[in-house]
Amino acid sequence: MGITRRQLLGWMAAGAGAGAGGLVPTSVRAAANMHFAGFPQSKGVLHDITLCIGCRKCEAACNTVNELPAPETPFDNLDVLKLDRQLSPETYTVVNRFYPTDPRKPQFVKKQCNHCLEPACASACFVKALRKQKTGAVTYDESLCVGCRYCMIACPFNVPAYEYHKALTPRVMKCTMCHPRIEKGLQPGCVEACPKEALTFGHRDELIRAARQRIERHPERYINHIYGETEMGGTSWLYLAGHPFGTLGMREDLGVVSAPEFTSGALAIVPMIVSVGVMLLTGIYAINQRREKIADEERRDAVDQTREEFEALMQQKLSEQKKAAEKAKDAAIKREVEKALAEAAKPEADQPAGEENGKEE
């Protein structure tokens, strides 16, 4: 998709909501810059499509060594070649016929697991039932498989097949590169059975060298590409052909990035989401608590202040009123005293006037 893993990691970090792009440690990126070119001395098979005659001997051998059920159409019946056959739980390998240019010149392509150097299926398996072995083979452990079929989603070559009709013990079925035979020092069944040496078994590095030599010696016979050398980060199974691989039923748009690299960024960010998430959420909570507390205090302060101001005001008013009352009282007393003095000065004054004054008080 035109994005390096380095960029991806940065974006994932930014995308996690932390708002910081540099959260991913450099050691992860350092690991990303190391290209895994396969286990040293690991094996592979070179399939020279130009040599294949479509005899189906490899299919028969595969069926025998893997003890798979006998097919509906026997292996010596070549009519099935005209069908676009897929791998299935009963067939780990099929040979299909293509007519890339000339309808009189068929090309036969053998299909089976390509045994990626960094397999999509193994990286997708959440119980490690699929593993890349040091021999180069990608093997399957039935005793661990949950049957989630994520390996089938992940495989860019649509290789793993599933036993859909088994109720309780369905397995994922695919070519094992004859891992048990390789460990015994034997060749894979299909390679051993090939009468035309269209299949060569050996160290992957040597196979690549041999393939290059063939291209150099016969540039008219081969197109200048070894399929599997870099596809999806490289595969243990390698192909030579005289026609563009796209015309032979093989995808040319897979790119050179291995499958685990597509997901490593998303996985790398997980521990960051946990740690940054705790910080962020606890922080937001704490800030909210604090804000509420401050708002509470401010409200209380405001209430207190208002009350104080109100009380002060009331006090003031009260004292003013008191003063006014005292003043009035003083004035009244004064008036009374004056009246009394005046009355005392005029002994013949009216009695009722004195009563009225008393009422006013």
């Binding site: 998709m1 039932a129 498989c145 079929r149 997901t263």
Partner: protein, 391 residues
Amino acid sequence: MEQQQAAPPMQQSFFTPFNVITGTILLMGMVLTVLRFTGGLGAVTNLDHNTPWGIWIGFDLLCGVALAAGGYVTSAACYIFGLKKFHSAVRPAILTAFLGYALVVLALTYDVGRPWRLPYPILVSPGTSSLLFEVALCVMLYLTVLFVEFSPAAMEWLGLRKARTLVMRLVLMLTIFGVILSTMHQSSLGALYLIAPSKLHPLWYSTYLALFFFVSSMFAGLSMVIFESSLSHRYLHKHMDHHHLDNSNDVALGFAKAASFIMIGYLFIQMIGLAIDNDWHHLATGWGAWYLLELIGFVALPALVYAVGVREKNIRLIRWTSVWVVLGIIFNRLNVSLVAFNWQLPASQRYFPSWMEIGTTLFIVTLGVVIYRFIATRMPILYEHPDYQED
């Protein structure tokens, strides 16, 4: 009429339209269950070599988890962001999330080959390089968190005051844990598809897929809370207290506002996704039209209508829009998992679910509705228990 009147009252009350329809679906589901576990996946599904994941993953898992996002969104809004007026929405949202996740796990037991081995990734052989491992771990932990978050309602119902007090002390911690777990697995469900750039159409494949799933889960959850609340108002009205009724319009307005805002943001990040991978030329194809239908028809337009609904305080409009958004999320998840997946294959090799797959999904959804109804009509979900109102 005469027959109904003549029938004894017990029978009459049991054979309600609701019970008859759900009963039939549950019965069908049981038959399909037997078929699935005796004949294998091949007996009931149209899954094949090219399409190993059908609607049990595309709908039951991806849509189920996205639509259960209401749990983390609501509890985060209430307990972490301090929006306490949404408190009445927390319990129904947590219950829905809990049931949603429980049913996701139930659906997985149908989909995986050997369901009794589902604990294997955690207990026996952890494949930590797989995003499915992360999904499995998070879903398992979050289901536990949701169970504990839901448990106070059951404890109030059963009168277990001490246990309830203990759990209530954990609310904040559980909420934070729940939000983090949701962030991780909502996004990793999208990230599951990162491993297959050669199979998923470039308009849906993006290095940001995880972020797209996470952000869209937020407005999926918000809309689902609005949608459920309108259903509850219609069918469970008598189980709501005045507190719930008073706040439900606030919840609808607040959530619609948030959803509208996030949806506009989602449009922008989708466009950034297009720009980063330079996928613009795909927009002129048929796939582009389909993509634009999803993005404009089910994100941009409902976001706009939500905004109008909020401005005019039109609760009815908001409720209908929530259905629209929920459908949009289903549309998106099915596009990623089924429609745009294996887009390069000829039509003859493409997948379409069998009626039995759809029947099983219907069975599981119905089971969810029945259990929700059972709980909401008995436990304090839509009302506060009178004995526990202090907190």
